[in-house]
Subunit: 294 residues, 4 copies
């Protein structure tokens, strides 16, 4: 039973190599998490256990894939970022995306019991995620993408916080709350929270307001100030030729170095320059110095 | 904090709609299963628990996605097939592939303990899968793809069975066994098995020799014979216009009908016509009759 | 001055191989022909010289590229069709499309003076064309594409013929004619033509009503009638495996055979089966018999 | 005769929007110019008429498409460059490529008689060109692409010049000349030219040694020197957000401004920074000042 007469079907596979020297963002989203969060009784507007579980799974993905330089999560979505110099899986799009989706899912399911000890998963209602890759040519575009997600987090969280206070504490119907919030701006919502419920939105948990930023921890740089301050550019934009020549061996060496760094989760502003200036290894793609005593 | 200045980044998402009226095969593969099978002590050449776990996860995927018409699994790979008339997720490639990869992974992890009760998963060494979509324009191409995988299963299994008998029973070193098998044809391997170990390869388990075929069960058709026998064509090839007009409502109705059918796993020949002739609903994409008493 | 430090830029070229075993339609359209037809005083609603020039250029394209099996032209657009078995330029999309666009343009410019002897081209106002490839998986889809273009030809020509009679003979303003035709159906337009201008639309030139079909001429088959009549399928759908194995040498031989056939232009119905039944070489991709005495 | 039953075929067209904020290079190549140059007796190693014709056609393409910022030509190839901020044809790849190929071909055919007055084109042996788009994310990548083409020009021209002197003046056979040149470096070829034929390669025509650079002419900037000198970055890399918001109206205004500038052909070094520093409008995408008295 020779296979040669069927092997022609291999020619139907189409290549999907992602353009070199570009930022690759793989964004994953929970499938049907609206229903799922009801089934497993997630708390509204934020369920800390669910967010911690998302973050724990994301940390494992970063540990597993040293080529990732940063990730950002909010609600049931997570964005994972590969550096322009990344050549993992020869930059095959489907391979990069499915590897992240599958690794994330595996850890999410595996860790569920740790975060929801009293709420076991019931088959077939298992959490799952879809994903896609988006490509950004410049560091500015990448930063704008990250800012977009964090602003979205803020806007949604302010809305949801207000809405659920109105419903849970204010005993309004969903429809009435929705109706009243229609057309309001941030200051209106802040005022509702403060006047009616005595809530200062600024005192809400950072994880709810800022989302979660996951990255490798090295020694922070001093914050530079003044006009000479400069956000580091992607390696690729300054010296891509050199970088193109990084050998497989060197790539593997860099991966090993990265594995030594601790992967941390922080809930901080990533819109302003400071975050990126103090952590130049993220945008440069060059490992920093391990913190003393680490 | 308005988001409008960042929203332009959405324009970088590129569409990936799969060509209409074509068969879509999503093939997933275990990531690093060579190491993984060593860590969790999978039996050689075949570990029935591992195969049953693959099949159980595949069955859940077919239950979850009624648009799938058939799947075929061997070793740590599985191919899932969408019909040409499928419009799930508007045929967005990444969405189709990641949904299957994630759903499969979720059930694989969730079911692990049932199939490996004495061998718990150890983080971070969790099983995961990558995947890709391949598109086939005609039913013949699709059948040739399926045949290709099943012939591959046969070739690999005959080799592995012989190799591991030589090593495990014959006490040969891996290198010696490999060396002796180099250049042998099927009959040589059959003879080694029979002469040295008294093994008739034909009596090996069908699941090892044929792999696993997963599909919805309806009433089988009589086997036709003679020249008028005809393998059903894909709906799309005969009446695609009509099919193009299937409304969303009708699609949803067909999905509901499909959910009623039982999803079964069989270890049978899918190279010859008979399998397809007796189960015309697979290639036609039209639900068959539910078996009596079901 | 070594080039090696720059050669990495070659890696940015992305493959664009068209899916095997599918029909490839390359459609080209005149760029800004509205203005151009005014500048060179094309007659309304149809300029026979302009159509004959389009057809002459299309004939040269078919002569130059024996892999093309048929082409269909109407107004300033032309669709060129490659057979599923075509492997010209390894099916690279951009190469196929640009070769057709450039060859067509070259002949169009070169032949201009023959068809417009009193109206020389004036630089920079030269005719040019853009193009794109569309892929069809089945013969039915391809035939529906061809039908779509021919129905479009009919609809536009009936409208334009009526409109220009109303303007040129009926002395109506463009706006008034447009207004009156809004919402009319075919029979209304036929009636306007007949009642007001004594024109029987059926007697209009076939080239205007049907467009132009370009193909290689072999001996016609007898028209089959009755239920056993069958439109030939694409080779690929019946025996693609075999076809996949056509060697480069055989491909070149087939090309030579095809070059011997005469390329003809006809203005006939391509919606009904008859056209295709009598010329089975078009859909089968196998050269027919040269006509006697040719 | 309604068209609705066929219109579904439109859904088979697949989008091919090029990634925003990237450099687009459309490279065209003469089809079969080896044979063609023999048929029309092009001079070896360089035919000035043929190069001038290529340049004249390229100038017309830049005049026709103000979105192009620069082009570079050598032998029978030409590279046309769109700025990252370009939104012509919504950045549809096939449309951009075919428009350039067709416009170039049209002018090439139209202008032939001017450059080859004694050698009329003979149908069907007409010149034609194929083309493709390549995308570069950063200005450095784009500059490296341009350098790659110019170094290639140098390497090929030195080889060809030496080879043809050996054959035409030295009366060597093609094979012998080829054999002797195998493995030689630049200095060897320079020496052959000088010692045997008294030719100083440096005195060869710049158009042969450097190729042809086509761009819009504005007032040159002073050459900056010293460490503060800086090659301008693409607009997109510094302020892409703003640029994203350039309205259609503004785009059209910029196009009009560009049309006023003269398109020039120069044979100069584009590898070093100086060319780009003195003509900042090319990389910035912002029109410069028209030269005084222009």
């Amino acid at each position: 039973m020779a296979n040669s007469r069927y092997e022609y079907v291999k020619a139907f596979e189409q290549p999907d190599i992602i353009l070199p020297n570009t930022w690759i963002v793989v964004r994953i989203d929970g499938r049907g998490f609206h229903k799922l969060s009801a089934r497993y009784e997630f708390k509204k507007p934020n369920d800390l256990r669910a967010l911690d579980l998302m973050n724990a799974a994301a940390v494992e993905v970063l540990k597993d894939l040293p080529d990732l330089v940063i990730a950002y999560g909010v609600s049931d979505e997570y964005s994972f970022v590969f550096h322009p110099s990344c050549d993992l899986f020869e930059r095959r799009g489907a391979k990069l995306v499915t590897t992240i989706v599958s690794t994330f899912t595996a850890h999410y399911i595996f860790l569920w019991g740790k975060f929801f000890p009293d709420m076991p998963l019931q088959s077939p209602y298992l959490p799952s995620f879809d994903g896609r890759a988006v490509v950004y040519p410049t560091t500015k575009n990448l930063r704008d993408y990250m800012s977009w997600r964090q602003v979205d987090c803020h806007i949604n969280n302010l809305y949801n916080t207000t809405f659920w206070y109105m419903v849970q504490e204010g005993k309004m119907s969903n429809t009435d709350a929705e109706q009243e919030l229609k057309g309001t701006v941030s200051s209106d919502k802040n005022e509702i929270l403060f006047k009616r419920f005595g809530i200062n939105y600024n005192n809400e948990k950072e994880i709810y307001k800022k989302g979660s930023v996951v990255f490798r921890q090295y020694q922070l740089e001093e914050t530079k100030t003044g006009p000479e301050s400069k956000v580091p550019q992607a390696q690729g934009e300054e010296e891509s030729t050199a970088q193109e020549k990084i050998s497989k061996t060197q790539q593997e060496k860099i991966r090993k170095q990265r594995r030594k760094a601790q992967v941390v989760v922080e809930h901080v502003d990533i819109i302003k320059d400071e975050f990126w200036e103090r952590r130049p290894w993220i945008l440069s793609g060059k490992p920093g110095k391990l913190p003393k005593g680490a």
